[in-house]
Amino acid sequence: MPSAAPASSPTADFGPALLEAVGIHTFYGASHILHGVDFRIGPGETVGLMGRNGMGKSTLIRSMLGIVPVREGRILAGGQDLTGRPSYQIVRTGIAYVPEGRGIFGNLSVRENLVMSARPAPNGSTDWTLDRVLATFPRLAERLGQAGDQLSGGEQQMLAIGRALMTNPLLLVLDEATEGLAPLIRKEIWRIVRLVRDTGIATLIVDKNVAAVSAITDRNVILVKGTVVFEGASAELDAQPDLKHRYLGV
């Protein structure tokens, strides 16, 4: 596993993909949301997934994780074709998901939220233990016995990330991890995302703050109405303000 994300170009060879979508089409009922999307993320890579509201970022993530079915195309994870498989099989290849809205179990304690789904990495390593997660998120350590729905938004977000790390992932998927949080908490979340990235865990980041995302990603993908319209290194994106303006409204 690479020790840190290299500041490299998108053409760098990251090895076989941890998670990959090949030409996927996803529908919600009759509405066609994803129109033949290709996406891949390899070991140790940090990728930003961008796009305005409703462009299909969350849908792409949920399709790749097997939470919503794809009608066409393939999903590969951990080197296997897992198209159509239930999400638990896909994530067991080493993927941890921090969903939009955090998905905390409000009726479980903080401790239970962390340990319920804990597991070793696919290769058996257990780098992330309860102690390490609590050392990373000291605020959670103070609230171990509290119910999940009694935490503040920022604490819930930390819990969602801590819970994800407890599965010892190779890939961490963060969908809007700073949404609705106070500036100081956002900074804290970004600090932790960097810290996680620096341990060599690949990260897929969706966030409204384009500058903050491109500051830590190797590569970025922009979705417009369920189609990939740009894919390139962060420097490449930063060099094209018109692109950002057109597709992201910044």
Partner: protein, 295 residues
């Protein structure tokens, strides 16, 4: 109306023990029902059929082997296995369906269970042997005495309730069960095979109902139609306790055991209504039941 029951402490104590035993047995049935309803969202009208399976298992095994204690594990295993298999074969296809489909499916199952029971055991009324070691009475305050086996029922039920409490509050399976009731998609997205959890919950619930049938078989008749004996009342317990809450089922079942038992001796004319009045009162006070999560 007659309050004589309070005049004689011995009679009062007997009623108290009866109420406890009835409430605890009801808990065994309702706890499974509330789990199945609260977690998978399945309305299982056939839940009482598993009570029947337990009762007939107690009768048949005890008859064949002479040992009631042998019937217990066999009957419970049958209840668990049957629930597990039906979950895999049938119920899992009905999670996302409207409740009407579930009602039709499980009503159909009741009829099938009854038919099979008729083919295997006929229409006679039976009773399982009381386990020999417990076939005596314990003297209570003066002239009253109380059958030891009935006390044993309460003790066993309490132990099961304790075990269930520990399972749900302390184990990872328990966490998955509770988390699944809250957000099943997220449980799955964290790498947990929720279908396994569901099948386990189903088997657990039906095993508990079978256990209730087994335990009661020596003190209540084993006869056609007993699958309906506790069905309605256990739904009342689920509603009173709060859907999905095992703790709620425990207090709800005891409450009903007490109200029903004492209503029968105090106001026999209106006893049939008492538990429904209780339910209405609880729902007026707390619309989601005693321990139900506010919607």
């Amino acid at each position: 109306m007659s309050f004589d029951v309070f005049a004689d402490p011995a009679i009062f104590l007997v009623q108290l023990l009866n109420a406890t035993q009835q409430g605890l047995l009801l808990f065994l049935i309702a706890s499974g029902l509330t789990l199945i309803f609260g977690i998978m969202g399945i309305i299982n009208l056939a839940h009482g059929s598993f009570y029947m399976v337990g009762a007939y298992a107690a009768y048949a095994v005890a008859e064949a082997t002479g040992s009631f204690w042998l019937a217990l594990p066999i009957g419970v295993a049958a209840g668990i296995a049957l629930g597990y298999v039906l979950e895999r074969l049938l119920f899992r296809f009905f999670y996302e369906r409207d409740h009407l489909y579930q009602v039709l499916l499980t009503f159909g199952l009741i009829l099938i269970f009854e038919e099979v029971r008729g083919m295997m055991f006929g229409e006679d009324t039976h009773r399982a042997l009381t386990p020999e070691a417990l076939d005596f009475s314990i003297p209570l305050l003066g002239v009253q005495s109380y059958p030891a086996y009935r006390l044993a029922i309460s003790v066993i039920c309490l132990l099961v309730a304790l075990g269930l409490y520990l399972l749900i509050s302390r184990t990872r399976l328990g966490m998955m069960i509770r988390a699944g009731a809250y957000n099943r998609e997220m449980v799955q997205a964290l790498g947990i095979n929720i279908t396994f959890v569901y099948a386990a919950v189903f088997g657990l619930g039906t095993g508990l109902a079978a256990l209730a049938g087994l335990l009661e078989a020596p003190v209540a008749s084993v006869e056609p139609g007993i699958s309906g004996r506790y069905l309605i009342i256990s739904f009342v317990v689920v509603v009173i306790g709060g859907i999905g809450s095992v703790k709620g089922a425990f207090y709800g079942a005891l409450l009903i055991g007490f109200v029903d038992t004492f209503a029968k001796v105090i106001v026999p004319e209106a006893a049939g209504m008492s538990v429904y009045l209780l339910m209405a009162a609880v729902l007026l006070w707390r619309p989601t039941g005693l321990f139900g999560r506010p919607a």
